[in-house]
């Protein structure tokens, strides 16, 4: 009897619990949006009248009659310059101690995208599809939320435009400098298609965009002081508008290229502003025929040269910085923080195109990636 009453009362309790209503946040007919602040210039004495590129993104802002923003449907605050490498998952969430956000949604606690056709969209925020007014305001680099800033500081609107987002499409939005001389800034909305392509998990894919500011590579070197740092290698001086990319795969920290992957012509990149997705180039993950097909380790080197220059007859010596934009160099390996005894001329170090990680019974096991390389004024991802 005692047991029965206990059972009954717990059943009653359970019933009560079942009545609690959980309100799930839901966005009907969402589009998936990821936003980057690519204004990767630095302020110095030479350009001190420019504003620090620290932004607040406002989607569907509420503006009063004085032009003052008093609210917005979606706010992406503390939008700092992007990190050089932006992985598909919000990697900086757990390790950050500041409010500054290298991308939107990034650290923001908002609804993010699902796994779509095998692609984890947890770095893409869900936003209602349809037409939106979108504003980017310059904000001071402090911890005060945008709407609590004094009115004077809420009025510096950099970009005010309208975008249309389609339901369940994946977008990246880029804010960048369009003209290095006039300092004109702009936004570019790119509708991604990687989730619609028949990609294989045994191939590595890479594509290239050159969103550099107009007039950057032509500009005098003295004007590029403070732009990027030495880690950006030759790319910090910019590259020409029409460049060829040659790819080599090597054993880590050696000049021994894998058979068949020595200065292979890969792509041509032209500087352009368009929302068009660049062509994805691919090569097999296990390009190293000696590997055990479970894990493989290689460096990917991209020599970027002006048309007419062959990588076999590279005219530039070590530490040469006077190439007038005809030469740039990317090295991709490990987590991008590599040091080695290999003398890579003016290289920009980026994470590898293969991911080696403990998986199941294999340690390590190699996974392929899809890399979008964005080359702009000073830096790359």
């Amino acid at each position: 009897m005692k047991r029965l009453s206990l059972l009954l009362s717990s059943a009653f309790l359970l019933c009560l619990c079942a009545c609690s209503k959980v309100e799930y946040t839901e966005i009907e007919r969402p589009a998936y949006l990821r936003v980057f602040n690519e204004l990767n210039f630095r302020i110095s004495l030479a350009n001190k009248d420019e504003q620090i590129p620290f932004l607040t993104m406002l989607i569907d802002p509420v503006v009063d009659k004085d032009g003052l923003v008093t609210g917005a449907a979606i706010i992406g605050d503390y939008l700092n310059q992007r990190d050089t490498y932006a992985p598909p998952y919000p990697s900086h969430v757990g390790e950050s101690t500041t409010k500054s956000n290298p991308e939107y949604p990034g650290k923001e606690s908002v609804l993010v995208g699902p796994v779509l056709n095998g692609f984890d969209l947890s770095s893409w925020a869900q936003v209602p599809s349809g037409e939106h007014r979108i504003m980017f305001c310059i904000r001071p680099t402090n911890d005060v939320p945008f709407l609590q800033l004094e009115p004077k500081l809420r009025k510096i609107v950099m970009i005010d435009t309208t975008l249309t987002l389609n339901e369940r499409d994946v977008y990246t939005l880029h804010v960048f400098q369009k003209n290095f001389i006039t300092k004109e800034n702009t936004v570019l909305l790119r509708e991604e298609n990687f989730h619609k392509l028949p990609m294989s998990d045994s191939m590595v894919y890479v594509n290239f965009y050159n969103y550099s500011a107009e007039g950057f590579w032509e500009a005098d070197k003295s004007l590029k002081q403070g732009l990027g740092d030495n880690d950006n290698g030759m790319l910090r001086y910019g590259m020409r508008d029409d460049m060829n990319v040659w790819m080599s795969l090597t054993k880590p920290f050696t000049y021994n290229t894998l058979p068949g992957y020595h200065f292979n012509y890969l792509a041509n990149i032209k500087r352009e502003y368009s929302g068009k997705v660049a062509h994805y180039y691919s090569f097999p993950l296990f390009a190293d025929t000696m590997s055990n097909k479970i894990s493989t380790d290689f460096m990917t080197l991209f020599s970027i040269l002006a048309p007419g220059i062959s990588p076999d007859q590279m005219p530039y010596g070590n530490y040469d910085t006077e190439s007038a934009g005809t030469y740039a160099f990317l090295g991709c390996y490990g987590n991008g923080q590599f040091t080695g005894n290999l003398d890579l001329r003016g290289v920009l170090k980026m994470p590898g195109l293969n991911i080696n990680i403990h998986s199941g019974t294999y340690n390590p096991r190699t996974f392929a990636t899809i890399i979008q390389s964005r080359l702009s004024t000073a830096g790359l991802t």
Binding site: R42, L45, K48, D49, I52, P140, T141, E150
Partner: protein, 352 residues
């Protein structure tokens, strides 16, 4: 026993604890300044200009109060030194040191050079720079506030009717152009004559901004440039850009403390480039010991560029403007720093 008990009870007696009224403990701006030993000259200026009542009114105000050291840089060491001054222009100067709002240091956008706030002098806006943290990152706070080349030696003093910051330099703002400023001062007459002769004078009346390093007559005379020399010189024999163009940095506005702030912010507090229309270079820097609160200085360097034989730039001469009262003179279209010496000799600018 009774006495003992009564003593114990007596010991238990407490007076009512009076919590001070927060608004009563802060003084009004005028009273605070008058009662501060380091602000006696500022207080004397306020009294002479008849502004005490204004400073004791409701406000809110933010006062940038130059300390006595700042006035001493201008040769003002006694209250009576204000006696001969024009009251209206003194009032304007004092209003330029006041904002019609409460501004604490952290209100100024962090790490931004030249934020502007309207002063009470017809809304004219001084330049504010707040260095919250330097190139080492936010974990290493700095917290320096600079206004028009002055350094806030003490900031965020709460007043009943506002906020007070003590600065180590009187902000020297003169309405008008750089031309007007130089014309009014006879000690720059040779410099002015030379600029006119070499065709650099007109640009000092243009809108926009520039920074002028102005050597006075005594400085130029050390290099053999006198009024007579300017009168007789054949302009075609000299590279005007190098000889006099070096003194004018067009399109730039550099207070002495801008170099200091940029040094903190970007670990690069210098500015260099080619002298416009010349093959030689100039380099600028400014220094200030903010810890010991020493006056700031500005330096201009005349530099010979690298040649194949000597593959590095070589400084020919550098001149430091170290008279604190005579640098950071702001006008509506530029900034003038006084130079006590000359960077370029005439024979270094001769055409071959």
């Amino acid at each position: 026993m009774v006495a003992l008990i009564s003593t114990i009870f007596a010991a238990c007696k407490h007076d009512n604890l009076e919590v001070p009224d927060a608004s009563k403990t802060f003084r009004l701006a005028g009273d605070f300044i008058r009662n501060n030993y380091d602000l006696t000259m500022f207080a004397a200026a306020i009294d002479y200009a008849g502004m005490r009542e204004e400073l004791n009114s409701a406000g809110p105000y933010t006062v940038f109060a130059p300390n006595n050291t700042a006035f001493a840089q201008l040769g003002i060491t006694r209250a009576s030194d204000f006696a001969g001054m024009d009251k209206d222009s003194l009032r304007n100067m004092l209003h330029y040191h006041m904002l019609g709002r409460r501004l604490i240091k952290t209100d100024v956008p962090a790490n931004n050079l030249d934020s502007r706030y309207a002063s009470l002098y017809e809304g004219r806006e001084p330049f504010f720079t707040y260095v919250a943290y330097g190139s080492a990152g936010p974990a290493f706070p700095v917290g320096d506030l600079y206004i028009n080349g002055a350094f806030a030696v003490k900031s965020d003093v709460a007043l009943q009717n506002g906020m007070l910051h003590v600065i180590d330099k009187v902000m020297k703002y003169t309405p008008g152009t750089v031309q007007d400023w130089l014309n009014k001062r006879s000690e720059y007459s040779v410099f002015v004559a030379a600029l006119k002769k070499f065709g650099y004078w007109d640009q000092l009346a243009f809108e926009g901004t520039c920074t002028v390093y102005a050597p006075d007559n005594a400085a130029l005379e050390k290099g053999g440039i006198t009024a007579e020399w300017v009168q007789n010189v054949n302009v075609n024999e000299y590279l005007g850009a190098r000889l006099f163009g070096i003194y004018i940095i067009p399109g730039r506005r550099f207070f002495a403390t801008d170099f200091v702030a940029a040094g903190r912010l970007y670990a690069n507090g210098g500015f260099a480039g080619f002298i416009p229309n010349d093959t030689y270079k100039f380099a600028l820097k400014g220094e200030k010991d903010t810890y010991r609160q020493l006056p700031s200085t500005v330096t201009i360097t005349f530099t010979r560029p690298a040649t194949p034989e000597q593959p590095w730039d070589q400084a020919v001469r550098d001149i430091t403007g170290n008279i604190a009262g005579r640098i950071d003179n702001l006008t509506d279209n530029g900034l003038v720093h006084h130079l006590p010496n000359f960077p370029v000799l005439p024979n270094e600018a001769e055409k071959n």
